[in-house]
Symmetry: D2
Subunit: 350 residues, 4 copies
């Protein structure tokens, strides 16, 4: 961290800045240039820097404070040098060599719908079944999900197909019931900064998938993961699902570059959700292919046997034939890129 | 709502669309032009339209669906023709003729800090004391607030000064304790779409201030208020606190036009928070003046007797002298604009 | 287009709206519902609708005006049912079956740099050489390009390697000199709505590549292409280069979904520029792969033999070894996806 | 500027960084901490730092480069310690103690319209007449303005009323004709980074008003002004006209905090355009009041005697009665705030 003093600051000003830095347990390294004096801050725990930064910003002699080191601890490669692999059992993993596909309807609607969809996505090669039983909806007047009834239908579909199950948890009250049925707990974009919820799931021994908030920076997203990990639960998957921009033709703007960016900073697996990222089924297939090519660890995609009857998100759901085509395309891309892995590593480090 | 059919759609396509609309309990009004066929949708409860829209969007013959009527019910002037005034007792109101000022530190830190600040803001003319006891922080390693200890200090300051108290509630678990001490419950930007929390406070008989989410549209913000009101609690204040944009010099971009915009749609009072809206104390004063001039029902502003020692948000806190100046400026603006009220109404309706 | 009347509008209000619509040469189709009256507008040239829309919005009885049909003419599949292929001669095409790669340095700097780079990118399989001779720079104090000297170096590199040349045109004054040397004229993001310039290049018989503006919607981008095409030049390539968002870790946010979206609306080829889209060389390779997988018609990428000596954009330039790896990966992806073309078409139309 | 080296960098890496810095004419100040080494850069002309920054970013040992000093020269208070006042003669000034109002129709349409509007705005207290003769329109099929004919009508209105005239210049070709009639040349948002145009107007002896680009940062906006001033023309007015965000209810999002922010950095006057900033006439009046209260040096507002017949921007034009009310409100606000000036200064510097 560096404090830049205002032009015309005196030696006394500089001294006050140094004293504050030292009082907070850091050491100060002033450097007086012809025009500007800067004071470098070194030492102490990174988590204390946030507070020091705010205090420095208030001092009348300080022009601005520039943070240099990243605020990450547990999510960072500095903490753990091996990629995190979430092992769900029966050979299903997220973060390993394979592209793991999670597929299913937006909402759980009925036994027939869940079983039919589960068979379709299983046959096509998906490993994990998605489906919402508790639904966050912008309007209180929209369909809010089947609740535990929906969770039971997910479990029934798992029973029959062997697929693992991911489903959304919206509040602390439902932690037990969701944990009873889910293999992975999903935290939605709207709850990415619901810190009470994050802390509670941090106490569980259960994989969690944390979606990026609608307007969350990379930093905020990773710090949300720190909230979970800081409580002890290190089984975190990140999910890029598009961010809000001025764009008016798609539901969100899929920020695919966030995936390699996060993978450079963090050992956590990152997957892509092109269904919410685009909101339009015609765009889901090309953007899912792009996510595979960009290096995502997995894809989450909405599939519905009859989208025109879906109770939510029909417009962004793939029909079975389109999903099968997508799976074949994803496999082809993964195969074609596999042979370059060693060359990629070699060049990156040269 | 209107469904626009694709070019080249047949009569059979049109018939399918009409059947779906009628099956959902609406009536269909097709209009076949030279190039395009559109089908108008009339009737039934507005809250069913969301689902119908999604179903129509999936049909292969439908190019797009355009929603015409607004999705608001309880927040709208159509529901209630008189402005909502939140009466906190002792003559303190939000939504009436006066500009109500809420002021105080970001975080409650100590007895001395709270009492000193409360006296300062009371003397300057504020009616409500703000102060966070439970703090939502981006990093789990930042100061998280004093908890109930902080609430007690707020109550102590109320006892001495007669100021009303507003403080943030972050989760359902703390509803009782926060209600015990607060006159107004604040829901922060990060929790604007925490629907479980919104539903719970909807069951209370306690005023609530709902901050606009970081990237929330006007529609999403008002629908969040609908979540609260739909449970029975109609004492809702809205608070504009800036939205996230590409801007890099301020913490957020204060969207002051949202205030008259919401006031056109809704009977709920709307206040402005220039401290979070700008994140820089030098900008707080001019933007607070602007909020008064734009017609806000109130202002929430951070004041700290010694910002350089603040445990959070020091850089955006006003010192006492600046706050007193601001209060005088706000009063001057309000007085100067008061005489135009009747002329404004006359012109608006001519 | 549809005009929605305010609640409580009278028959006389409705009549005035109808009269305006008819006076502008359209026909009006009123539809009176229980709560709202809407008036449909049919007929006349789409280009007159913009003006009618504005006039309707001003009427006191009109709540809002909803545009239904798209504003595109020449760029749309309705105008031309075959994909536009830009044929540059010698078998180099943009918009055909192949992924066309344009590569080279950000700025033309010297003969040695240009020839070395041209040989490298040619050997790796690029077909078109990029290089800026006139540079748009945010600061007037940054390097502004070599001007015609730079164009001559591009031509020299073309002479030796057989690569085609693309370079940026910044103003009308330099049209002749840029046309003399370039095979494709590039219009940069900052000039996307420089209408005087667009009209002038619309009069040329020379391919033009139009970059998406920093905050341009799909609609504005295609309408900028309409400006060019409306003057007679139909050889337009579109280029997605990232848009501006709240993201702070990348130069721009690459909006890859815009590529299939535009391809659905328009017959024009669309390419991707991951160098400007990300601003960081480590992200260029994965995002370029994603662009190929999303279906882009080409890729433009910055390559520099010695990025650390580049006069501009060094941080986003690939070194030769990384570029060769990327080319191999792109070829592998294209080959792997080729076999799905017919299946994709079949499913899309079923 | 500071270069932060990667963890694990060697002394040899550090040496290379120092050599580059010195080779570019700066001096290097390395500071080796326990975890990180940072190298401070001091000296040489600020305009050379952009290039050095890019070169450093490419070096393999460099983690990131942080710029500390601002890139402004001529626009900054460091260059000129007195506020710039644009004197248009006859007592009309922009940047002085008064709030200068520029008003008139979006487009010049006819003699009758211009004379009628000019009389109205003159009577209400405006000092400058606005009106577009050359119109930048998103679609090539929209009304493009009357050209020189329109300029003549503006001059005729000036002749009769004594108002000064501001009108938009869109391209270099029309500089002479626009200069012949205009007192202030307006550069629109779309041309804010049309550097060829900026350089040409920099050579004139004529005041220029530079609108903020749709997605321009404060830095880019001021650097655009540097382009003009660097050529010799220092008579620059800045104009905030709203920026593009995710908001869907207003044409743009008015960023009023940019006004005091720019005034802190620069001696140039800054005015507000609430008509384009909101796009809706009902919001123009409150936002114009807010602009006065925030400290703008002037307001530009669209007024039309018959908005329903306007050829462009009718929906955002005030009718005469609303404009008169606004002028009275603006005067009241300015009067009420005037008495605080000295107190504001005293507190700011204490």
């Amino acid at each position: 961290m560096i404090a830049v003093l205002k032009r015309g600051s005196t030696k006394a000003d500089e001294q006050k800045v140094i004293e504050l830095i030292e009082a907070e347990g850091f050491s100060a390294h002033p450097d007086t240039g012809a025009e500007t004096t800067i004071v470098g801050v070194v030492g102490a725990a990174p988590d204390k820097k946030v507070n020091l930064k705010e205090k420095l910003q208030v001092m009348s002699a300080v022009e601005k404070v520039v943070v240099i080191s990243d605020p990450y601890k547990l999510t960072s490669w500095n903490f753990k040098q091996e990629k995190t692999i979430i092992d769900l059992g029966d050979g299903v993993k997220v973060g390993g060599a394979e592209l793991t596909v999670m597929a299913g309807p937006c909402s759980v609607e009925s036994e027939e719908q869940m079983l039919e969809t589960a068979r379709i996505v299983k046959d096509a090669g998906a490993k994990i079944l998605r489906g919402g039983a508790f639904k966050p909806r912008t309007s209180p007047y929209s369909f809010q999900g089947l609740g535990e009834e929906g969770l039971k239908l997910l479990a029934m579909a798992r029973e029959e197909t062997g697929l693992k199950v991911i489903t959304e948890l919206m509040d602390i009250e439902h932690i037990d019931v969701v944990c009873k049925y889910a293999d992975i707990i999903q935290i939605g974009a709207r709850n990415m900064q619901n810190y009470a919820l994050l802390k509670e799931i941090g106490k569980l021994n259960k994989p969690v998938m944390l979606k990026r908030g609608m307007a969350a920076t990379i930093k905020e997203w990773l710090l949300a993961a720190e909230y979970v990990m800081n409580e002890g639960n290190h089984q975190v998957i990140l999910c890029e699902r598009g961010v809000r921009t001025f764009g008016e033709e798609t539901r969100n703007t899929m920020d695919l570059s966030s995936i390699p960016l996060v993978q450079k900073i963090s050992h956590l697996p990152v997957i892509a959700d092109p269904s919410h990222g685009t909101g339009r089924w015609e765009l889901v297939t090309p953007v899912a292919r792009a996510a595979a090519a960009v290096g995502a660890d997995g894809i989450m995609v909405e599939v519905h046997p009859h989208p025109e009857n879906a109770l939510s998100d029909g417009p962004q759901s793939l029909k079975p034939a389109n999903f099968r085509l997508l799976m074949d395309e994803l496999n082809a891309i993964m195969t074609s890129l596999n042979s370059f892995k060693s060359r990629e590593k070699k060049i990156a480090y040269e």
